[in-house]
């Protein structure tokens, strides 16, 4: 019984470790996006890529917001089912996404570090 518990703990740690090492964080994921619905990561200098993946098209915005002025950087707005932007800066920033129109199918925002 103890051996089994230990094995389960090890497997769980390996899975969680592998996920963290992948360097991606899905910070917003919904099957319904009302117009105006936002999502954002926490502030970190290491975010550099921001992706909005949708299973059907709706109008969305993807950006980075710096922690000092709260200005937007490398913003992309469009209806593409896969949207991507990059901000290669060491500034402290958060990845941000939001819906401009209502989306009624699964969509998720993912930040890379």
């Amino acid at each position: 019984m103890r051996r089994l518990t230990l094995a389960a703990v090890i497997v769980t740690c390996l899975v969680l470790g592998a996920t963290a090492a992948a360097g991606t964080t899905t910070y917003a994921g919904n099957s319904y996006w009302p117009a105006g619905q936002p999502g954002a990561t926490w502030f970190s200098p290491s975010w550099f890529q921001n992706v909005f993946y949708k299973t059907s098209s709706f109008d969305t915005t993807l950006t980075f917001i710096d922690a000092q002025t709260y200005r937007w950087h490398s913003t992309v707005r469009g209806w593409g089912t896969y949207q991507e932007t990059h901000w290669l800066s060491s500034e402290n920033k958060k990845a941000h996404c939001h819906a401009n129109t209502t989306g009624s199918s699964w969509a998720a925002c993912t930040a890379y570090n």
């Binding site: 098209s57 950087h73 913003t75 707005r77 593409g80 949207q83 991507e84």
Partner: protein, 201 residues
């Protein structure tokens, strides 16, 4: 008797593990579909060639950029705004090749730096594709005026398109005038497609 109890414990434990595995599997499978598709597209973007299809002219002290497309083996057509083909500082998006304009005759991305208030936007650009029968694309501005967009023919494996890139004038941005829609017309000046857009929306 002790053996029977031990065997029962093992059976209960195994049954619990199987049930937990099935539950986790069902939850993961529900999310894995879209997540796997996203991963596949991201991987295809990294390995696919970039083709330059239009220019974004330099102006107001800002460097020229290009509009690039990728036809992915995942069945997606991507349009990017980038300073050069291999640049990681690209922005844009992809759609299914069999529906590259999301049911319209035109599709574009608006890229900008600064904001969200329009007056603090330093640079704003439109990059996109339209159907091959589109003769004119105009940017409808928030004051009701139009800006003309230069079109360039783009013959891709997935079909014939027209491509465009447009940099918004700093004077417009400073006066708070931004784009509200990209409108496509055919040769008879009939509107055949419209995509809403905007800064800070």
């Amino acid at each position: 008797m002790v053996r029977i109890v031990k065997a029962r414990r093992w059976i209960v434990l195994l049954a619990t593990l199987v049930a937990a595995g099935a539950l986790v599997g069902a939850v993961v499978a529900g999310q894995r579909g879209p997540q796997q598709q996203q991963h596949d597209i991201a991987a295809a973007i990294e390995r696919s060639a970039m083709i330059k299809v239009a220019d974004i002219a330099g102006s107001d002290g800002l460097a020229a950029r290009g509009v690039y497309v990728q036809e992915l083996d995942t069945g997606h057509l991507c349009v990017w705004d980038a300073s050069f083909a291999a640049s990681r500082s690209r922005g844009g998006g992809c759609n299914a090749i069999d529906d590259p304009f999301n049911g319209r005759a035109v599709s574009a991305s608006l890229s900008y730096d600064g904001g969200p208030g329009i007056a603090s936007v330093r640079d704003a650009r439109l990059s996109g594709l339209a159907a091959g029968n589109v003769a004119r694309v105009a940017v409808l501005m928030s004051d009701g005026s139009e800006r003309m967009v230069k079109l360039k023919k783009a013959s891709l494996d997935s079909g014939d398109f027209v491509a465009f890139g447009y940099r918004l004038k700093k004077a417009d941005l400073k006066r708070g005038i931004g784009p509200t829609a990209i409108v496509a017309f055919d040769a008879g000046e009939v509107e055949i497609g419209r995509q809403p857009t905007g800064i800070g929306g």
